[in-house]
Point group: C2
Chain length 445, copies 2
């Protein structure tokens, strides 16, 4: 029989960070992480397996991070939670705990489309064997259709397109790819880039059925058009993995995930949940949030890990911060877009600027960077920001995320002292974050 | 005779931003920028003229930014300010103003060393003809000695070292280069890199005299050692250019710069000052601050430009935010270093982490990134941060700058939702800004 003060169920990003945080906050407690996978893929790295990295074995979370934090590891599948103990499936018996953290993640959404169970139709599971199989099948395929033009869809499209002799088509239901996270003018830049790289992008494309005789052969749309397909990837979202929680009669939330309060405590005070399996509320207004992102999972894991022996931290709710990259183009988003903010009923003022990301323009690596900030008009509070540029966008969006999370105003941002350097950033005069705030302020007067 | 509602004296980064800000806040006012230089070099780009860019003409601030903001330009030298008008030297007569903004910048410090007036000894003036002359003299020189290992010194050293057949030596008074802005462990990394690139670095090196017969031939140190020199560059700091302010009997401050309050107003309510010429106070405690940085000048210019017809903005004081780059190494700093904080009497806790800047480590461009955060121990308030890595450091340090300026605590940072991406940032589990805060928190418990 196994036993630990703190047991974490799930070995992906949320589980690991919850365990590390528990170690930092509770140095005297024993911590055991239980997961069913021998090896754990890096979730965000999965698309890059197929073009840039070369194989699933190049995209694994190293277990050394557990060792160095004195976290024990048990690879086994938990099938039932008997309050105060876990029962394992593999005959290893019980794992007893004082505090349990659920980080069981999510599973891909299977859309209600005829033909989704045909051979050659793949969802993206965070499972090495599944990812190896996908790589083998990609080798045998020529026409690849990706259903869903969110970030997973476009990253997969571009990576697969790097392999010789593939025809890659993205089918997106909405009017733009990435439209759940960016305003249209940013989305269309990504679409244009994908097209220039040889990926076919079809927006406003409603899939009617996936067809084939045993194996997939085509995807048919509602307007009657059809795309040949040897292989189909479904990238339309994910739902919380709540099988264990349900069985344990933990309360579920409005979106069907494990109900938690702001401290990540479930309906059982000894059980916490974090990451994709946990119910979320929005930072904007506090209503239920469907977002599932690494930035959120990490926050929740740092809360859950700290709180297991007395509440130390609370969540503000989901901001929605992430970035993506295709070729040299990088895009980041934090908080609400202009259209999302208007849909929710905010009266907004946006400030957008574009400028070279180095100064002078003759410095190596100079490329344009664009920043759009969206403010609530009356309070001047920042609701969100979007950035398009090159690699530094990955950090620039986090400055914006910090500003949104601390509910800074346009004036707060206009009063920033921001570092600049010819080889690293835009010029001080044109620094885009500050100037986007200034543009918005001049529209508010 | 010229006349404008708002006249800005000085055409470098502070003057331009003051004029643009005045335009944004006072759309109906006429604005005239008066400067004595026909062309204005980009201040931070000056070192890069000599290796990367190829000539001073590649490093100019374009006047189009004035046109597009409807700012008139007069190239002329103002020799006297007669309250409510400027008298010009060139016979163009008076320039009448309602509000005046002084942005007359700084001039390099001339150290009290014998031999500084020898031929071949250069300070770095923001003047194109001077920079052209320096380029010509560099071509004729083989042994170049740079006195001062601050950021200007090391950037010049590396750029000149890119030219064929130059022996470049940096002489730094303190125990480390960059020691006014980084803790020793960061400084020594820069020194090691410079050495590996062929630059000679001598620290704890007190210059006794510059010697030569008309033209410089060597630099002698107090310990008796000597370095051959055909050309010497002095990079030991700058002092406010206050000639006009003195003549006008504007009050000067404790450091000898033009006295201003937090609104950038001088002792004459119709005259504002910003940038290197203006007196500064520290964000930390409010005492006089000797810092002269683009990040500060820009803030002050945005305050002065907004405030000329009624006070809208106030300064928090100087943070000290800037970054530098040599080869692929980039370093950024914001606020107080650990040693500076201790010297000022703070009891501090520092958290340092180092991690790959991409994930997994097989992603192209992967290199280590190090973040050090310094907190006041009792309040947990962030006092400063230092970053070492590659280009994205230029933006990462600005997230830290925003945190310092908003006096965030370690817990605030630990509760961030930060975006991550395989091609752009460190992994979510290891994201260094958050983890440095977490490390510090675990030391505070």
């Amino acid at each position: 029989m196994h036993s630990a003060d703190i047991v974490v169920l799930g070995g992906s990003a949320a589980g690991i960070t919850a365990a590390i945080t528990a170690r930092r906050h509770h140095p005297d407690k024993s911590i055991l992480l239980v997961r069913k996978e021998k090896q754990v893929p890096i979730p965000c790295g999965i698309p890059y397996i197929y073009g840039t990295l070369g194989g699933p074995e190049k995209n694994l979370i190293p277990d050394t991070v557990l060792d160095s934090n004195k976290i024990d590891l048990l690879v086994s599948e938990v099938t039932q939670i008997d309050r105060k103990q876990c029962v394992l499936a593999t005959g290893e018996g019980e794992v007893r705990y004082e505090r349990l953290i659920l980080a069981t993640g999510s599973i891909p959404t299977q859309p209600p489309i005829p033909g989704v169970d045909l051979d050659g139709v793949f969802t993206i599971l965070k499972d090495v064997e599944h990812l190896v199989l996908l790589q083998q099948r990609l080798k045998q395929s020529r026409n690849i259709v990706i259903i869903g033009g969110g970030f997973i869809g476009i990253e997969f499209a571009d990576e697969i397109n790097k392999i010789d002799s593939k025809n890659v088509t993205v089918l997106e239901l909405a009017a733009n790819c990435l439209s759940l996270s960016y305003d249209a003018e940013f989305c269309s830049e990504m679409e244009t880039l994908l097209l220039s790289r040889g990926v076919t992008v079809r927006t406003s494309a409603t899939v009617a059925r996936i067809v084939g005789d045993g194996h997939v052969s085509a995807v048919e749309m509602k307007d009657g058009r059809s795309v040949s397909a040897d292989l189909v990837i479904l990238g339309i979202g994910a739902k919380a993995n709540v099988d264990l929680a349900k069985e344990t009669e933990l309360r579920l939330g409005l979106t069907g995930s494990v109900a938690v309060d702001r401290t990540m405590q479930t309906s059982d005070p000894a059980i916490f949940a974090c990451g994709d399996c946990a119910e979320k509320i929005s930072f904007f207004g506090g209503g239920p949030s469907p977002l599932k992102l690494a930035s959120i999972a990490q926050l929740e894991a740092r809360i859950a890990g700290a709180n297991v022996y007395g509440l130390r931290r609370e969540s503000d709710g989901t901001l929605g911060v992430w970035s993506t990259a295709v070729g040299d183009l990088a895009m980041g988003t934090a908080g609400l877009t202009e259209s999302m903010a208007k849909d929710r009923g905010y009266e907004v003022v946006a400030g957008t600027v574009e400028t070279p990301n180095r100064h002078p323009g003759g410095m190596p690596g100079t490329a344009p960077v664009k920043v759009k900030l969206v403010f609530e008009k009356h309070s001047q509070v920042l609701l969100g920001g979007q950035v398009r540029g090159t690699a530094s966008v990955g950090e620039l969006i986090n400055t914006i995320a910090a500003c949104v999370q601390k509910r800074m105003t346009a004036e707060d941002i206009a009063m920033f002292q921001m570092g600049t350097h010819p080889a690293l950033t835009a010029s001080p005069i044109a620094y885009p974050l500050v100037n986007a705030a200034e543009v918005a302020i001049s529209c508010m007067q």
